[in-house]
């Protein structure tokens, strides 16, 4: 509209000839000039090829608005639940939502959820070219611009370290035993995790190339200069044994230490009191374990945790168990004994028990019978015709 107006003015001026250039100039000053670059994106751009990057369904302002709404909603929720809005964490939000919107759905992902928009809306790339179709990034035409730019960065760093090395050699201060980066207890990010970070798909060979380059970087003596960069690509492994909660060690009126623990296996539930009294008696449901478990295998299951820890004749066990069959009951009791033993045993032993499989609950459960079949797996007699 302004352009046509301008052209219109110019055409009038052209018709009436030129009264003078200064007249033209002043005229042009009055008319506002067109900006050189467009701020908004016209809808015509959407029709261009967006397959590589994926279409940008949510604009940045849309996401910002969502974040604002989330924060406000969080404060409202905190007020509703009567808690302090300042210290309202994500766990509190989850708890409150589960309370306000109780759902009987089995699929946890189908239940109502209130999380930060970063976690809900998938990460996506912004449009990577301008109005005239020129891409912003110099590696756009490789197809995987973030991946190759990452490789480029890593190689830059390698070169920088080599230059640093040369400098130190020139000065005569070159030493091989510099500070090394601690890599124990962490692992390289998986291919899926790197894809998530780069927001584009990479192949297995690409991933291996990247890891090789990182290891090359690590092999250089002065790699500690880039420690922060490298640790961005390593993930800490949690220490598994710290996950188990050790049942508290309680004391009898007589001063005898005892601990209580539960165990489950395949719909059998067991509960155990382990007393540190010095005899090896075991009572289950009021009966001696020799009578309750006539089968040798079940008694061996009971024996295994005590044998492993080496405290065979030391404990008195009083247990109650119900449900399922004799083998499952023995398994449930074994798990309960192992858990109760945790409070009598040192840290290193806990790790050993975990590795022996004593503390893992057996997840196997009876498989469902399917319609159209005799049982869970068995089919009806197959008839050719």
């Amino acid at each position: 509209m302004a352009a046509s107006g301008c052209r219109g003015v110019r055409s009038i001026l052209w018709k009436y000839g030129s009264y003078g250039k200064n007249l033209f100039v002043s005229r042009s000053k009055m008319v506002p000039q067109l900006p050189l670059r467009q701020i908004y994106v016209a809808s015509s751009l959407w029709k261009k090829n967006l397959a590589a990057a994926g279409p940008q369904k949510f604009t940045q302002e849309f996401i910002d608005k969502q974040v604002e709404e989330f924060e406000v909603g969080k404060r409202h929720l905190a007020n509703m639940m009567g808690e302090d809005p300042e210290t309202f964490t994500q766990e509190d939000i989850d708890r409150s939502i589960a309370y306000l919107f109780p759902s009987g759905l089995f699929e946890k992902r189908a239940r109502p959820v209130m999380k930060h928009p970063e976690e809900i809306f998938p990460k996506q790339t912004a449009i990577q070219w301008d109005a005239e179709g020129r891409p912003f990034h110099f590696l756009f035409y490789t197809g995987k611009q973030s991946y190759y730019s990452l490789l480029h960065d890593v190689y830059e760093k390698i070169l920088a370290i080599e230059r640093h090395q040369d400098k130190m050699r020139n000065k005569g201060l070159f030493t091989s035993d510099t500070k090394q980066i601690l890599l124990t207890g962490s692992r390289w990010l998986l291919k899926e995790e790197i894809e998530e970070n780069l927001v584009e798909n990479i192949s297995v060979q690409d991933y291996m190339r990247l890891i090789q380059l990182m290891e090359l970087l690590l092999s250089m003596p002065y790699c500690s200069l880039e420690e922060e960069f490298i640790l961005k690509f390593r993930k800490q492994l949690e220490v598994q044994s710290s996950k188990y909660e050790i049942p508290a060690l309680q004391y009898d009126p007589q001063g005898v230490a005892f601990s209580v623990a539960d165990g489950r296996r395949k719909s059998a539930k067991a509960s155990i009191t382990l007393r540190d009294s010095g005899s090896g008696n075991i009572t289950i449901n009021g009966r001696n374990y020799l009578h309750y478990f006539p089968v040798l295998q079940n008694r061996e299951q009971l024996m295994f945790p005590l044998l492993f820890v080496g405290m065979m004749g030391r404990f008195d066990i009083e247990g109650s168990v119900e449900g399922s069959g004799h083998s499952a009951q023995a398994g449930a009791l074994r798990l309960a004994i192992s858990r109760a033993l945790l409070s009598f045993v040192s840290e290193g032993e806990v790790e050993k028990m975990r590795q022996a499989g004593l503390l893992t609950a057996d997840p196997r459960i009876r498989e469902r019978k399917k319609p159209g079949q005799e049982g869970a797996r068995k089919k009806f007699t197959w008839k050719k015709r």
Partner: protein, 374 residues
């Protein structure tokens, strides 16, 4: 006893005292007490004569394997033997009932006491397992003498044969009564016992009645003549005595259940259990393993005998048999090591021993079965 291979010092000290030979004064109380927890060897001749059928089947296998029969001296047997020594045999016989959990050694203690009686020259009436008479009978004949009773010819003749082997010395006893078996056969007064038994063995049809006659004769004669040649003491040993008053698993021809009283053998044995005779002792042991229709957790006399049985057996001297204690377990373990029965190298270590203790809870029969495949 041979010792070879790496063994602990403890074992070396014990191995000399582990077993002792059966000798004349083996049943002397002091000697027995000293050897409590240790094994003594049964002489093979005695095993053949006294126990062709009386020992538990697994123990018989063990005798065959080890080529010797070793019995552990344990408190219940010691108690029984001491009672037997101190009893007054002019009065009616005392009834002793061995009771306890399954696999604790009731039958073995009974056999030990019986061995004592045999070595003292008593006459042994030994029913190895009364449960065998109450179930799984192939032939059940209506009795020849009484209409409402049933005979078991096979079991009766089997028992008579065994009785003959055990009590050979007493076969020339004189009997008192006259018994009529059929129109043509009868045993006259004054004939030796041996002939009566032969009669029963040869004529299967009347064997159950012969059993009854034998038992009656022995009852009448045991109390008589305390001095002189004809004196003898009678030991009645019944294993699984709760079968006499329990239920049977036998059916009559019209498919109704048989009561124990309707069986001749059981009826006669019950008469034997009463203490209306003198000059002997009645040793019995309860047993749940062979019993019919009894729950596995029952082991007390009141549970296994039932009301009727309890009333009949009363008054009796109960002797309880329990699992091994520490010393006895140790002794049993060393015995198995000595005979090289525990082949697995781990079983010789302390850890292995603890495992054995745990898994068997020091129960003799379970320990034996456990060691069988080690």
């Amino acid at each position: 006893s041979s010792t070879d291979g790496p063994k602990s010092a403890h074992f070396d000290i014990c191995s000399k005292n582990l077993k002792y030979k059966f000798s004349e004064n083996a049943f002397n109380t002091n000697i027995l007490k000293r050897h409590s927890g240790q094994y003594y060897t049964l002489p093979p001749t005695h095993i053949q004569k006294l126990f062709p059928y009386g020992l538990p089947p697994r123990f018989q296998l063990q005798i065959k394997t080890f080529n010797e029969g070793c019995v552990m001296v344990r408190p219940p047997a010691l108690e029984l033997i001491s009672y037997l020594k101190r009893a007054d045999y002019s009065k009616p016989p005392l009834r002793y009932v061995l009771y306890g959990d399954i696999g604790t050694g009731k039958t073995m203690s009974l056999c030990h006491a019986l061995h004592y009686c045999y070595s003292q020259g008593w006459l042994i009436v030994h029913v190895p397992d009364a449960h065998l008479w109450v179930k799984n009978c192939k032939e059940l004949l209506p009795s020849s003498s009484r209409p409402s009773r049933f005979d078991q010819p096979i079991q009766a003749s089997q028992w008579l044969k065994n009785f003959k082997i055990t009590n050979e010395r007493f076969l020339s006893k004189v009997q008192l009564e006259r018994y009529v078996w059929t129109k043509r056969e009868s045993t006259e007064k004054g004939q030796p016992l041996g002939e009566l038994i032969d009669q029963g063995v040869n004529r299967m049809k009347s064997s159950s009645d012969v059993v009854g006659a034998v038992l009656r004769e022995l009852r009448l004669q045991a109390g008589g003549a305390t001095e002189g040649e004809g004196a003898f003491k009678l030991a009645v040993a019944v294993d699984g005595v709760n079968a006499l008053w329990g239920k049977t698993s036998l059916k009559k021809e019209d498919r109704t259940m048989c009561e124990p009283e309707e069986l001749t053998l059981i009826h006669n044995l019950r008469k034997m259990m009463k203490n209306n005779w003198s000059g002997g002792a009645i040793l019995t042991a309860l047993s749940q393993t062979g019993s019919v229709f009894k729950p596995r957790s029952a082991y007390l006399p009141s549970e296994l005998l039932g009301e009727e049985g309890f009333d009949n057996m009363e008054p009796f001297v109960p002797v309880s048999v329990s699992n091994y204690n520490e010393k006895e377990f140790e002794s049993c373990y060393l015995y198995y090591l000595d005979r090289n029965w525990l082949q697995h190298p781990h079983s010789r270590s302390e850890e292995g021993k603890k495992e054995l203790i745990f898994l068997s809870n020091k129960n003799p029969s379970i320990l034996e079965r456990l060691c069988a495949f080690l």
